[in-house]
C-alpha cells in the first residue's frame, strides 16, 4: 500500500511554454526540500513547441517555423502544445507505491488518465497490448511514436508522457490534446507528415468541443479516485514562485538552453 500522504493540487492557468517548464522544474526541486507530492494541471496560452531533453532543435524543427519552442528537462520527443490539458506529477516512488522500472512506473501513473478517458466515454488501451511492432521507435513528433504505456483509442495514439528522475523523485508530465492542428505540426516539425493517421485528440474522438475547465476538474477527480488520494488545492509557495522565475530567466528563456542544452 502507498503511504498515505497529503497531495497538493495546483490548478494552473494557461501560460507560455517557457513559464510552464520553469514551474514544472521548480516543483521538482521543491519536492526535494518539502517532500510534498503535487499534481499540477495547466494549459498553454498560444501554440508552443516543447522538445525532449536530448533532441536537437536544429534537426527537429523546420527553420522557417515561427512557433516558439522550449527544451524540456524530461525525455521524449517534440510536441506542439496548443489546445490541450497538461498535467505534471512530482512525487517519490513511495508516494504512489511506484515500481522502480521505468515502463512499469508509467503504467501505474498513467492509470488515472485511463480513468479520465473512461469518464469521458472513451475506452483507452495501452499501446503494448495492441501493437507488437514499432513500439519504442523514435520519431521527431511525440504523438507519432508509440511507447508501451501510451494510450490508444480507436486505433490512434492520444497524448504523450515524459519523465525526469532525480534520486528517488519521479517527475512526470503529459499532454492530453483537445485539438491538434496537423497543418501547423507539418509546418513546424520535420518528418511529421502523416501524423494525422497515427494520433488523435479529444474533440476528434468525442465529435464535440471539450471545455478546458471541465477537463481540469475531471482529471483531478480521476486522479483522486484512481489512487484513493484526497487532493488539497493550493498555489505555488513563495519559494516556488521565486524558483520558477529563476528557471524562467536563467534557463527556459535562454537560447543556449533551448538550442544547445547549456545552462548559464
Amino acid at each position: 500500500m502507498a503511504v498515505q500522504k497529503n497531495w497538493r493540487l495546483i490548478l494552473d492557468k494557461k501560460n507560455d511554454g517557457y513559464l510552464n517548464m520553469a514551474i514544472d522544474e521548480a516543483l521538482l526541486y521543491s519536492y526535494l526540500a518539502t517532500k510534498l507530492p503535487t499534481l499540477r494541471i495547466y494549459g498553454w496560452n498560444r501554440p508552443f513547441i516543447s522538445i525532449g531533453y536530448n533532441q536537437d532543435a536544429r534537426k527537429i524543427l523546420k527553420p522557417e517555423s515561427k512557433i516558439p519552442f522550449v527544451r524540456r528537462f524530461t525525455g521524449g520527443a517534440a510536441i506542439l502544445h496548443d489546445k490541450e490539458v497538461t498535467y505534471s506529477i512530482t512525487c517519490s516512488l513511495e508516494d504512489l507505491d511506484l515500481p522502480r522500472e521505468v515502463k512499469k512506473s508509467y503504467e501505474k501513473i498513467c492509470s488515472f488518465i485511463k480513468e479520465f478517458y473512461k469518464h469521458l466515454g472513451l475506452e483507452a488501451e495501452f499501446a503494448k497490448y495492441l501493437f507488437s511492432e514499432n513500439i519504442g521507435r523514435y520519431e521527431n513528433f511525440c504523438f507519432s511514436s508509440y511507447e508501451h504505456f501510451d494510450f490508444v483509442i480507436n486505433g490512434k495514439k492520444i497524448g504523450g508522457n515524459a519523465q525526469r528522475r532525480k534520486h528517488n523523485v519521479i517527475f512526470q508530465h503529459g499532454s492530453i490534446p483537445q485539438e491538434i492542428n496537423f497543418n501547423m505540426v507539418y509546418k513546424t516539425i520535420n518528418n511529421s507528415i502523416g501524423a494525422a493517421a497515427k494520433t488523435s485528440s479529444l474533440n476528434d474522438l468525442l465529435s464535440h468541443k471539450t471545455d478546458f475547465d471541465k477537463l481540469l476538474s475531471l482529471l483531478s477527480s480521476s486522479f483522486e479516485s484512481c489512487f484513493n488520494i484526497k487532493l488539497f488545492q493550493s498555489n505555488l509557495s513563495r519559494e516556488e514562485e521565486a524558483s520558477s522565475r529563476m528557471f524562467l530567466e536563467k534557463k527556459y528563456r535562454q537560447t543556449h538552453w533551448n538550442f544547445e542544452k547549456k545552462q548559464v
Partner: protein, 126 residues
C-alpha cells in the same frame, strides 16, 4: 587487481590503483529499459561523490547518473554516445561510461561489494 564496487544509486566503479571506471549495473539497465541517449561530462570535469555526472534516457525518461566517487574525469566512452544500447547489452564492459582519477582513497570503502549490492538491489525490487 581491480575491485568492483557499487553505489546505492546503482552505479558501479571498477577501481584499479587510483583509476576508477564507472558505469551502471545490470539491475539498473533492466529497470531503465531501452536506452536511447547518454549524456556524459567533459574530460577534466571534477566530480563529487553522489553528485550528478550525466543523464541517461530510456522510454522518454531522462534519469540522472551519480558518481560513486570523487575525482577528475580522465576519459569518457565516446563510442557509447553513438551506441547507447551497449549499456543494455553489456553494462560492465562495452557500456562503461567514464574513467576518473580517484581523489580520496578512503571513499571506495563506503561502497558495496557485489554480494551486498545484489542483496540491496533484490530488496529494493520488492
Amino acid at each position: 587487481m581491480a575491485t568492483l564496487k557499487f553505489s546505492k544509486t546503482h552505479e558501479w566503479a571498477k577501481i584499479d590503483a587510483n583509476i576508477a571506471v564507472i558505469g551502471i549495473s545490470d539491475h539498473a539497465q533492466k529497470a531503465l529499459g531501452d536506452i536511447v541517449f547518454i549524456e556524459l561530462p567533459k574530460i577534466g570535469a571534477k566530480l563529487k561523490a553522489n553528485a550528478q555526472f550525466g543523464t541517461i534516457e530510456s522510454t522518454k525518461a531522462a534519469s540522472e547518473l551519480y558518481s560513486p566517487l570523487s575525482g577528475e574525469v580522465t576519459e569518457i566512452n565516446k563510442e557509447l554516445l553513438n551506441n547507447p544500447q551497449w549499456v543494455n547489452e553489456s553494462p560492465f564492459e562495452r557500456g562503461w561510461m567514464i574513467k576518473i582519477k580517484v581523489e580520496n582513497s578512503n571513499e571506495p570503502s563506503s561502497l558495496m561489494d557485489e554480494a551486498v549490492y545484489k542483496e540491496f538491489a533484490a530488496k529494493e525490487a520488492h
